[in-house]
């Protein structure tokens, strides 16, 4: 197990290097630069700015400078938010995104697995249809529809919760609901599908033949197998959700890091985009590793030597 973790971490280094390389050159290929604005700056000011931010150096030199910075944990200054470094922006925003994303994914996993299991056990009954109907709706309604609807009905009409801002628990409820609903829907469908398959498998039949009670079969044998596809879905989904949702953050005014990705790209804030990309890359790699480890625990067929 330790060897697996070590191997994966070593393997992550070239992956990250490729990610950094591709995104570094791609963002610079986009037309326009960080200092373009409605009023065109005089040439000498552009030259001064380029000098301050080292944009006057050849590209390979800038790339080298950037890599050297990353090795020292420095993502550089933001071109757009000039009073902050990229690291500061990421580490101020990430706890916020982690908080709502983390709670949302835990809730979604619990509720989704529960609903999916029930639907599988009551296959083709009204309960099943109800749950699957709900989950189909959850999947098809995008968050940019669900979030404004929630804030309009619960926030503006009923005045139960604030429609935006950050600070208290009450500010987190609506964004978490908006983030959780589609995830519940996906997880419920996944669980139901794999549970139905598992319930038909030979080892469950054997367990039944042994005379084990239904509850024990479900908890000890069926759920374990049925969760495998859910776990592989949850890895990248968690990585995605805890690194912030642009739509949810914008609609509810949440100071997470999701928006920096889009704002950084739109503003050609090279360092900010790069910082978020690298950070996102690390999180994805981390969660894929966690999924692999969980596979080893859940699936008796998978053993890491």
């Amino acid at each position: 197990m330790l060897r697996l973790i070590l191997n994966r971490i070593l393997g992550a280094i070239p992956t990250l290097f490729v990610i950094i390389g591709i995104s570094f050159f791609m963002i610079r290929m986009a037309p326009g630069g960080p200092f373009d604005q409605e009023r065109q700056l005089p040439e000498e000011i552009i030259a001064n700015l380029n000098k301050v931010y080292h944009l006057d150096e050849p590209l390979y030199q800038q790339f080298g400078r950037y890599l050297w910075g990353i090795l020292q944990g420095d993502f550089g200054p933001s071109f757009q938010y000039k009073d902050h470094t990229v690291s500061e922006l990421i580490f101020q925003g990430f706890p916020v995104s982690l908080k709502i994303g983390g709670i949302a994914i835990v809730l979604a996993a619990i509720i989704g697995i529960f609903l999916g299991t029930i639907a599988a056990l009551r296959q083709n009954t009204r309960v099943d249809y109800l749950i699957m109907g709900f989950s189909m709706t959850g999947i098809t309604i995008p968050s940019f529809v669900m979030a404004p609807l929630l804030s309009l009905v619960i926030g503006v009409y009923l005045r139960l919760l604030p429609v935006g801002g950050w600070g208290d628990l009450k500010h987190m409820v609506l964004p978490i609901i908006a983030l959780t609903l589609p995830q519940i829907a996906y997880i419920a469908r996944l669980t139901r599908g794999s549970m139905i398959e598992v319930l038909r498998s030979n080892y469950i039949r054997t367990a039944k033949a042994k005379g084990l009670p239904e509850r024990v079969i479900l908890a000890r044998h069926a759920l374990r197998g049925a969760l495998l596809p859910v776990v592989s879905y949850l890895g990248p989904a968690t990585a995605g959700i805890i690194t912030g949702s642009v739509v949810i953050e914008k609609i509810f005014g949440i100071p997470g890091i999701g928006r920096f990705f889009v704002l950084g790209a739109l503003n050609r804030d090279y360092t900010l985009v790069m910082g978020v990309v690298v950070f996102y890359g690390i999180i994805i790699i981390l969660f894929n590793l966690i999924v692999d480890i969980l596979y080893g625990i859940l699936d008796p067929k998978v053993r890491y030597e």
Partner: protein, 539 residues
């Protein structure tokens, strides 16, 4: 067992987030929507309106603005202008203090202005200070910062020498980039001087908290010289770039003053909240620039025909619907000695020139068709209109395209581009027609007219090169007499309006919502200044 663990984890997580006890207090805190997250609170490194709004509350320049936008004494109690209009002497009030108690002296201005022109600062705003002697050369690195034409007596007298009489110089010194800086603070903390724990300012408020993408909190500055006029205990600026989200937060009482309103809901809001809806004419223009350097718009008659075919009344009433005023000049109307020079028309070859505005739309269209026929224009490829991605810009482009098609039979092709791509395309003059908005940087027609001077580089998006226009602008800039200067500028705009390098469409308005809780001090201001200093609220 595993499920239990997950429950425990969820319980722990939810405990972690139950924090920040409710604070109930009777303080007067004004909550303002402020568009985007401020790029910086360093007066020399900002570029937009959101930063100006915050800095206007945090700091104060030589001159300040009243609640209705007129210039009033700020740190300078009084000032004198020399006979030749080139030397300004400001006398600073001795009661002006920094938030740490230090006196605000003329040295603080000298330091700030030298820092702004210093190439190492790489400030966006050096064009504001360019009338000051040697400012341009210092920016180019030819001269030293000490050679800037500004001197202090080490106490309360500041003497500024200008290259040429610049009547709008007083408007320039009220711009945030010309505010004083506390030298010790800036030098001690470097890039981190704008953090709340370091920030030292001289305005009505001080920086209390800055949480990126969440809010900027200010509290009343007890050391401010005019603190007795300040009615609020604090101000919170929220960076809300989504207009729908801002509207919802206004409706729930979360913010008192919005920055904007969703364009498609203006009519509903006017009907639903007539007491809250505000529409303020701005010193700002929305226009289209022809690419004068390329066919077909190197032909003045084609330009004129297209400009006349536009039904501006219909555009503002049925398309933009935000109480905008149809525009026939580039410079918007404003109080003062300048009369905007509107497009003139000649109904027949023998008749006199009359303002096109006074004609009916059908007369204008008839004239447009006649001029278009004379121009000899033959439709080849469709004319390409380019604008940056935005619902409002798109609607306007579609409307114009329809008007030109129905009146002149001209085919157009609409292209929208993401903002930075649009800017790059415009700079290269790749297309035939560009949409453009210009918001005045200072209160003088020069801020608009300078754009179309031959040497304005990429700002001259139209690629308009007119010797006559340039000459009038140069004469205006050199003129000592205020009235004479205005005459030259008006002459320049008149010349330009007869050449049609651009199509003025409408004068901008600022539409927003103001809560019933705002009692006083929030008035219309064409430059968009709304200092929280003047605002009072109930709470």
């Amino acid at each position: 067992m595993k499920i239990n663990k997950i429950f425990i984890l969820a319980a722990v997580l939810s405990q972690v987030v139950v924090n920040a006890p409710q604070i109930l207090c009777a303080e007067k805190i004004l909550k303002r929507g402020n568009g985007a997250e401020p790029q910086s609170l360093d007066t020399h490194k900002t570029s937009g309106v959101p930063e100006s709004n915050i800095l206007g509350d945090l700091a104060e320049g030589l001159l300040s603005v009243s609640s209705n936008g007129t210039m009033i004494p700020g740190v300078a109690e009084k000032w004198e202008v020399s006979e030749d209009g080139k030397t300004y002497t400001f006398f600073l009030r001795e009661s002006a203090k920094w938030s740490n108690g230090d006196p605000v002296t003329a040295d603080d201005f000298v330091y700030a202005w030298r820092r702004m022109v210093d190439p190492k600062t790489a400030s966006n705003w050096t064009f504001i200070i360019s009338p000051v002697v040697n400012a341009a050369d210092i920016g180019k690195g030819v001269k030293k910062i000490e050679e800037l034409g500004v001197k202090s007596d080490r106490k309360y007298k500041l003497v500024v020498t200008l290259n040429a009489p610049t009547p709008y110089f007083l408007s320039l010194v009220s711009h945030p980039c010309m505010f004083p800086l506390h030298q010790k603070t800036v030098e001690t903390h470097g890039d981190k001087w704008t953090r709340p724990e370091n920030f030292v300012s001289n305005g009505a408020f001080i920086l209390e908290e800055w949480s990126p993408q969440l809010h900027v909190k200010l509290k009343k500055n007890p050391k401010y010289w005019d603190a007795s006029s300040v009615k609020l205990d604090g101000v919170i600026f929220y960076p809300i770039d989504d207009r729908q989200a801002e509207l919802k937060r206004f409706k729930t009482g979360d913010i008192h003053i919005t920055r904007m309103v969703p364009a498609d809901q203006i009519e509903t809001l006017k009907a639903q909240m007539p007491n809250n809806y505000r529409s303020t004419p701005m010193y700002s223009s929305y226009y289209y620039s022809f690419n004068n350097t390329k066919a077909p718009f190197d032909n003045p008659k084609v330009r004129q025909a297209l400009a006349l075919a536009v039904d501006r009344e219909k555009l503002v009433k049925q398309v933009t619907k935000g109480d905008e005023k149809p525009a026939y000049s580039m410079v918007p109307p404003a109080p003062g000695d300048y009369t905007p020079q509107e497009i003139q028309c000649r109904l027949s070859d023998t008749s006199d020139l009359v303002p096109c505005k006074s004609l009916t739309q059908s007369q204008r269209e008839a004239l447009s068709k006649k001029i278009f026929a004379e121009s000899g224009y033959k439709q080849g490829e469709p004319i390409r209109i380019v604008f940056n991605t935005d619902e409002n810009h798109k609607k306007i482009a579609i409307a114009l395209s329809g008007m030109w098609k129905s009146v002149l039979g001209v085919e157009t092709e609409l292209t929208n581009k993401e903002w930075k791509v649009y800017l790059a395309a415009r700079e290269k003059r790749d297309y035939e027609l560009y949409r453009q908005v210009w918001r005045a940087d200072y209160n003088d027609p020069n801020t608009f007219l300078i754009l179309l001077k031959s040497d304005s580089g990429a700002d001259n998006t139209a690629g308009y090169f007119s010797k006559a226009y340039d000459d009038l602008m140069i004469k205006g800039a050199a003129s000592k007499d205020l009235k004479e200067r205005m005459d030259y500028l008006m002459g320049a705009e008149k010349q330009m309006m007869s050449d049609f390098p651009i199509i003025p469409l409408y004068y901008f308005v600022e539409n927003n919502l103001v809560s019933d809780k705002v009692l006083s001090g929030y008035e219309g201001s064409a430059m968009g200044y709304h200092l929280s200093k003047w605002i009072d609220i109930t709470e």
